[in-house]
């Protein structure tokens, strides 16, 4: 099932800023500062960042609950700055689900359709179809507070999707669910979004969720966009320490570029030369930081950098190591450790990088 006959719309933000007054100091500050975005029709984009980074404000500006102080928002090709939320072709799934407690499941989902004066017969069909999609068929007459968290979430999703909005907005929709349900629901949301081919903007502070669900991730910090890209790009090629640190575990190893060619460069870390692929834009003699994910380092009896093991701990899926490279602590994860040598605390080992999995700043 796709949204028949309905044109998919993209969202474009041009130099959007939003200023708030700090309630404590009374000073103005930028909640969102000069953010420009272009979200392709039909794509799934996540706004990711720590709390207070401006992601929810951005989303609420797209929905129309907040008005930007500068810039223009486009839905498709239409500027929508001056439109009230009820006149915008958006539908939002709220963190608290915001289901109408006085309506049953059917009436909740049909609410938007009634406002659009959809004929009763078509309304029944559309509600039935969407209920089927979110796997809630047969629950029409339940009151929403008789449902548990997961199904409530599905009703909220169905209620937003059934009106076939130009863009679907999600405001941390999974944060009230328990960990296991969160994982299954995010797969669900992704499946449904792809089935319908609907444009979706998704706000979360959970980086795993963002990676699992998105076509593109936009990482925000202090009101500005820190980086945008596919999950792979932001994970393996973070452009800043903030991004690297925010997405997953990371180690920063300081070094100096000793040689550079078009393909990559050689970095000297504590006097030990290491080759890093696909790192351009660096010149010999430049100070740099190597971004090392825990699983991108290999410990062996021989290798590039000698180090001392200070913690060794079996985690099931991997062996967790803390090693000292000089006076820098490096965290490593050695997956599937069975059958390989396990280093004990106090032993010396050699650290090498998995080719292509390391980045430089």
């Amino acid at each position: 099932m796709t949204m028949a006959g309905k044109e998919k719309k993209g969202v474009r933000l041009e130099h959007i800023s939003k200023i708030y007054k700090d309630p404590k100091t009374g000073k103005d500050f930028y909640a969102v500062n000069d953010v420009s975005l272009d979200i392709a029709p039909g794509s799934f984009v996540t706004l990711l960042g720590p709390s207070g980074c401006g992601k929810t404000t951005t989303l609420r500006m797209i929905a129309g609950f907040e008005s930007p102080d500068a810039g223009e928002i486009y839905l498709g090709s239409d500027p929508i700055n001056a439109l009230t939320p009820n006149k915008r072709d958006t539908a939002m799934v709220f963190q608290s689900y915001a289901l109408f407690p006085h309506y049953n499941v059917y009436d909740n989902i049909a609410y938007g359709l009634k406002l659009r004066k959809v004929p009763k017969k078509e309304m029944d069909e559309r509600v039935a179809r969407i209920l089927d999609l979110v796997e809630l068929t047969g629950m029409e007459s339940r009151m929403t507070n008789q449902l548990s968290g997961g199904p409530q979430q599905r009703v909220a999703l169905a209620r937003a999707m059934v009106v076939e909005p130009g863009v679907l907005l999600f405001d941390e929709p999974l944060s009230n669910l328990d960990a296991k349900l969160r994982v299954s629901m995010r797969t669900e949301i992704r499946r449904i979004q792809q089935t319908l081919g609907i444009t979706a903007v998704y706000v979360t502070h959970d980086q795993a969720e963002a990676m699992a669900i998105s076509d593109n991730i936009i990482i925000m910090n202090k009101g500005v966009i820190a980086q945008m890209g596919t999950p792979e790009e932001v994970y393996y090629h973070p452009k800043s320490e903030f991004v690297a640190d925010f997405i997953g575990e990371v180690n920063f190893l300081e070094g100096v570029v000793s040689a550079a060619d078009g393909e990559g460069c050689v970095v000297s870390i504590q006097g030990h030369p290491v080759r890093v692929e696909k790192a351009d834009g660096f010149a010999a003699g430049q100070a740099c930081k190597v971004v090392l994910r825990p699983e991108a380092g290999i410990l062996a009896d021989s290798g590039d950098i000698p180090c001392r093991v200070v913690l060794s701990c079996f985690m099931g899926a991997y062996q967790n190591y803390h090693v000292m490279v000089g006076d820098t602590l490096v965290k490593l994860a050695d997956y599937c450790p069975a059958g390989r040598r396990v280093y004990r605390v106090g032993e010396t080992a050699y650290l090498s990088f998995r080719p292509g999995c390391v980045n430089m700043l």
Binding site: H15, T84, N86, Y111
Partner: protein
């Protein structure tokens, strides 16, 4: 890129104006609030400082320009003719301007009359602002005494109510009462005075403790007992208002975390020490709050001082007597009303903006778990006994009313008969009940809906006039009924701004309904606001987001979610209206008979049997409407859905 001009304000404005229903609603609300709350009060204020006098000025002094009147440059002066109309008359021909010339006694000189030298005057209209009325009334013995009486009564009632309220609240929250009957009795007592007509307790006080009182005379053999005066009013007011304190303080005590007190106990403090060093200091702002609320109520109370006050006049009754009595001193009565309003307003502002915030600040936490109730006999027995006795006393006061209506002649013949009820209905009692009933019934849906709309706008919307709407609708709480009544007389008797516009509503049922609405609006709005604050704002946002305009959101989402509050607003308004007297008694005309006014009339005449018959039926009506409300809330209210959840 630094932002030069902020467009958000402009965008918000655009969005706001895209919603015509809301704009019209807000505009309408502002007009209504301004017209029916602010305007009458403003007129009152104006009356107290604005003097319109007509002075007779000797013609000679006018002609030789020594009179203290404004002379115009073109040689004319503005004087009044015999019809009271003002016109400019030239000074040169003034001695021939018949119709404008008066004798000392006010007689008009007609064309052809001989002008007696030294007895020719012109009438000059004098309009000016002056604060003279205030020193005058403060020098006035009656006012002075009333002023002092009011404050003294307020103090006594305030302290008495807080102490008894605290006792009940403490017993309720801290002491293991054991007996369920006793507990039930506390509940009844706390509810009774809230729902009863305002003077019922005065009535039964007279019946039980007055000169012919059942208890004083029949049981104790006291023949000269005098309940009229300060003592009587104070007892009646305390019994009427302490339940309000009880409910307020109970809410506070419930919020004190028992572990704080346990920590004090654990460090070696006795129960008394815990109470004086932990509980009491935590409660202090709350006690102050309760005191002020009661004080305001007491000062504003009209019915009790009227009925049982004797010659102990308070401001409210003095103003009433000034207005209805012979001496029609507008300026003075207005000034008194302003003084009374000033007292309540200042206290209201302190209470609302200072103490309420402070109470909330000291007691923010929720009790982490249930408190271990005191089972100690030495604490339990005296406290529970005191509360039980008080409760029994209050209940006895209420029981006296129907018996007052059933006894043949109170004080003489205690045999049962229905003669008072018969007399009531033979009279125009039936009309009184229909009038009161119909007017209150009209007022209640209007108030309930208005207060829900106001709460919705105040809690959920952002717009500039919001503060105004919230403040004015709450302001009515601080305005004593008598003051409002005087304000309405001054404001509407001659139409708005004395122009005759809307004069038609004066003396009709419309103005009575408006007063009912104004008097109940703050209560409904407050309950609506607290109900709405508990609703997640994203529920409304999601309706808005799905395409509903403000009006649609309100009707399809907000209102159903605060249905309980709406229903209770309906009934509260009905109850308050049908039992109202203070403002109404000044505005009611013979076209409408209202129960409360009838009770007051009969009680004043000493016809206590009929008064009790009226009061009995009134209490029955009020009680029935509360039963209906509870039934409705149970079966149609929002809580039904919540209960489904609980039962799973």
């Amino acid at each position: 890129m630094p932002v030069k001009t902020r467009q958000s304000a402009a965008l918000e404005r655009k969005k706001f104006f895209a919603d015509p229903v809301m704009i019209v609603t807000i505009a309408l609300l502002i007009v209504l609030l301004a017209l029916f709350i602010l305007y009458p009060l403003a007129m009152l204020l104006l009356d107290s400082v604005y003097v319109r006098n007509t002075n007779l000025v000797p013609l000679e002094s006018v002609q030789d320009r020594t009179a203290q009147i404004p002379y115009a440059e073109d040689g004319t002066i503005r004087i009044l003719n015999n019809k009271g109309k003002e016109a400019a008359v030239s000074l040169d021909g003034i001695d021939g301007a018949f119709g404008y010339l008066f004798a000392k006694n006010g007689r008009v000189y007609k064309e052809g009359d001989e002008l007696k030298a030294g007895n020719v005057y012109v009438k000059v209209q004098e309009n000016h602002l002056t604060l003279d009325a205030f020193p005058r009334i403060f020098a006035d013995y009656t006012f002075n005494r009333a002023f002092y009486n009011t404050l003294l009564l307020g103090m006594i009632t305030g302290f008495g109510s807080v102490i008894i309220g605290l006792l009940f609240a403490y017993v309720d929250c801290y002491v293991n009462v054991r007996s369920r009957v006793t507990r039930k009795m506390f509940d009844v007592v706390s509810m009774l005075p809230v729902v009863s007509p305002p003077f019922v307790l005065s009535l039964s006080m007279i019946l039980l403790f007055g000169r012919g009182g059942l208890i004083t005379r029949e049981l104790l053999g006291i023949y000269d007992s005098d309940v009229y005066g300060l003592g009587g009013i104070a007892i009646v007011q305390i019994l009427t208002f302490f339940p309000v304190c009880y409910m307020m303080l109970k809410g506070l005590l419930k919020n004190i975390d028992p572990s704080m007190e346990e920590a004090a106990r654990n460090m070696g403090a006795s129960r008394m020490k815990v109470f004086t060093t932990v509980t009491l200091p935590l409660m202090l702002p709350g006690l102050g709050n309760a005191f002020l609320v009661t004080f305001i109520e007491s000062v504003a109370d009209f019915a009790n001082p009227m009925m049982i006050g004797g010659d102990y006049d308070t401001l409210a009754t003095t103003i009433y007597l000034r207005i209805t009595g012979g001496s029609y001193d507008t300026n003075g009565a207005a000034a008194m009303a302003v003084v009374l309003l000033g007292i309540t307003l200042v206290l209201f502002l302190i209470q609302k903006y200072y103490l309420e915030a402070k109470t909330a600040a000291t007691l923010t936490g929720k009790a982490s778990r249930a408190r271990a109730l005191i089972d100690d006999r030495s604490v339990r027995l005296p406290l529970v006994t005191a509360c039980s006795l008080l409760s029994a006393f209050v209940i006895m006061m209420y029981v006296a009313i129907p018996f007052g209506a059933l006894f043949k002649l109170w004080g003489r013949d205690y045999s049962l008969s229905l003669k008072w009820f018969n007399q009531l209905f033979r009279d125009d009692g039936f009309k009184a009940f229909t009038d009161s009933f119909v007017l209150s019934l009209i007022a209640s849906p209007i108030t309930a809906l208005l207060s829900m709309i106001i709460s919705y706008l105040v809690v959920k919307k952002r717009f500039r006039a919001k503060g105004f709407i919230e403040f004015v609708s709450m302001l009515a709480m601080a305005v004593p009924g008598t003051v409002l009544g005087v304000g309405f007389i001054r404001g509407f008797a001659n139409g708005i701004f004395r122009t005759g516009v809307m004069q038609g509503i004066y003396g009709t049922g419309v103005i009575l309904v408006i007063v009912f609405v104004v008097r109940s609006l703050p209560v409904g709005t407050r309950s609506g606001i607290s109900a709405l604050r508990q609703i997640d704002k994203s529920i409304e946002e999601s309706a808005y987001d799905l395409g509903a305009g403000s009006a649609k959101v309100f009707v399809s989402v907000t209102l159903p979610l605060i249905k309980d509050s709406f229903l209770s607003g309906l009934v509260t308004t009905f109850v308050r209206s049908i039992t109202a007297i203070s403002a109404i008694i000044l505005l009611v005309t013979p076209r409408y008979l209202l129960i409360t006014c009838r009770i007051n009339e009969f009680a004043e005449k000493g016809a206590y049997g009929v008064a009790c018959a009226y009061a009995t039926i009134l209490i029955a009506i009020v009680y029935a409407s509360i039963v209906v409300m509870n039934f409705c809330i149970k079966h149609f209210g929002t809580s039904k859905q919540v209960r489904i959840k609980e039962s799973e």
